[in-house]
């Protein structure tokens, strides 16, 4: 039986896995898509039209680094022509002022500029390259462009104590939104977790600081904060529910319910080269698998929160328990919560000092 799909709202378009940065928490899979397999401009344009027909309102261009696509202007134009709200999630490299103007002219609505920290040295350590100074230049150019700006700081053990400096950087810019998103532990971040997970004390301090900032900046800058869910009592409503609001297209055209779904074994993903977006959204095995409530084990099945968190995150369940159908182990009711408790205890234990120079597994680049 097919479980009925709702109207999708957002399409996350991973245009390429190529990236000039090597961030240690990259959400891309460890096995990166090859350049030769990337979808063409024509296929992407078709996908945008199909997305709008299916009801999608917004496209998020991401990667890797979406600016690494030589046809990025054509892609922005094609998406905007369909009426989609066009968002670019970028490191700001490679970019110059002329290119930025062209992007605005092509119809870009919103740019989300990522920062690895508030100052050069620690930021570059995380990015694995000298990127910070470039970002500051881009931020300066944005002041004179008609474009909505979000600054995205990815937060973790090594930079969570520098939130005040990050806020100051954002306040001196033209950003209308700041996201302080704690690392979520998938992909490269899962591999680097022990150097990234903050302590409870760090987390509590940061929540307090950002609550004050949110109040102070209301009406001027929207402040968003994402906590690391290992510290939560309940699981997050991952992607707003599996196959419920969002879908992600990989550089080669596989359509996934989320960034990390490829880690789940024996789950088949359909490709846009062979089927329409709508057909995949409504009927494909991958989207059907955890849509709705049928698949849920107890305690989710009879839990009041199942319509709020939709059973949490399937990829996290798999990564931490080896079973994608298990209750998200972040939930305090999950039989496997002790696994998460052990990870949190280790991050707060006496041996969990923050190393001056940890050994990182840097994200590589695809062939």
């Amino acid at each position: 039986m097919t479980i009925a799909a709702q109207t999708p709202l957002a399409l996350i378009a991973e245009l390429t896995h190529r990236c000039p940065l090597h961030c240690v928490y990259c959400s891309n899979p460890l096995e990166l898509g090859r350049r030769a397999d990337e979808l063409t401009t024509e296929v992407w344009s078709r996908v945008f039209r199909e997305a709008v027909e299916a009801g999608v309102l917004q496209v998020d261009f991401t990667g890797g680094e979406p600016l690494a696509r030589p046809d990025i202007l054509e892609l922005v134009r094609a998406a905007r022509e369909t009426g989609l709200y066009v968002n670019l999630i970028t490191s700001g490299m490679p970019l110059d002022e002329a290119r930025l103007d062209q992007l605005v002219q092509a119809g870009l609505d919103h740019i989300q500029l990522s920062f690895q920290g508030a100052s050069e040295e620690p930021a570059n350590e995380i990015a694995g390259t000298k990127a910070h100074a470039n970002k500051l230049r881009v931020l300066d150019w944005l002041k004179t462009r008609r474009l909505a700006v979000t600054l995205n700081f990815v937060i973790h053990r090594r930079n969570i104590d520098q939130l005040a400096e990050m806020l100051a950087l954002a306040e001196s810019s033209c950003a209308g939104r700041i996201e302080f998103a704690n690392v979520q532990y998938y992909g490269w971040a899962f591999a680097n977790r022990k150097n990234l997970l903050p302590t409870r004390q760090q987390l509590d301090r940061s929540v307090e600081l950002l609550k004050r900032a949110e109040e102070r900046l209301r009406g001027r800058i929207n402040v968003e904060f994402v906590v690391p869910d290992y510290y939560a009592t309940y699981p997050k409503s991952c992607m707003g529910g599996w196959g419920r609001k969002m879908m992600l297209v990989t550089p080669s055209g596989d359509v996934l319910p989320c960034h990390a779904a490829q880690v789940i074994p024996n789950l088949h993903f359909d490709n846009l080269k062979n089927r329409s977006l709508r057909e995949i959204w409504e009927k494909s095995e991958a989207f059907q698998k955890f849509r709705g409530e049928e698949w849920m084990p107890e305690p989710c099945k009879s839990c009041d929160r199942r319509t709020r968190d939709f059973g949490g995150c399937r990829c996290q369940a798999f990564l931490l328990t080896g079973d994608a159908e298990a209750t998200d182990p972040v939930c305090f009711l999950a039989p496997r919560r002790p696994e998460v408790d052990a990870i949190v205890a280790a991050a707060n234990g006496p041996s969990a000092e923050t190393l001056v120079k940890p050994t990182w597994l840097y994200r590589s680049n695809p062939a």
Partner: protein, 103 residues
């Protein structure tokens, strides 16, 4: 904040209405979209940087003439203030200044 009656609201940078003729009208904003129905759409369509808050209120009072005028005014002021807090609206005093950063 309470909007000034003589200020002129306009959509902030990065916010726009989707095209007419779509099955559902929405206000696009960075990282969210607001579904618009009758009155909210009527208000947003008038946030053009030309009309003052006062003019928008009086037009809506005519449009919804069965409703209590005071209530219409309060609802509009509350709605505009909320949208301002969400950074969807800018308020300017001069219609020539549409809040373009590029100028």
């Amino acid at each position: 904040m309470t909007p000034e009656l003589n200020s002129r609201p306009c959509l902030a940078v990065g916010c726009r209405l989707n095209e007419k003729g779509q099955p559902m009208r929405v206000l696009h904003m960075p990282e969210r979209a607001l579904r618009l129905n009758g009155p909210s759409l009527e208000i947003i369509e008038r946030c053009d940087g030309q009309r003052t808050v006062k003019e928008i209120i009086s037009e809506l009072q005519k449009l919804y003439s069965k409703a209590e005028p005071k209530k219409v005014e309060e609802d509009i002021l509350g709605y505009l203030a909320r949208l301002h807090d969400q950074r969807a609206l800018d308020f300017t005093s001069d219609p020539a200044d549409r809040g373009d950063r590029a100028q």
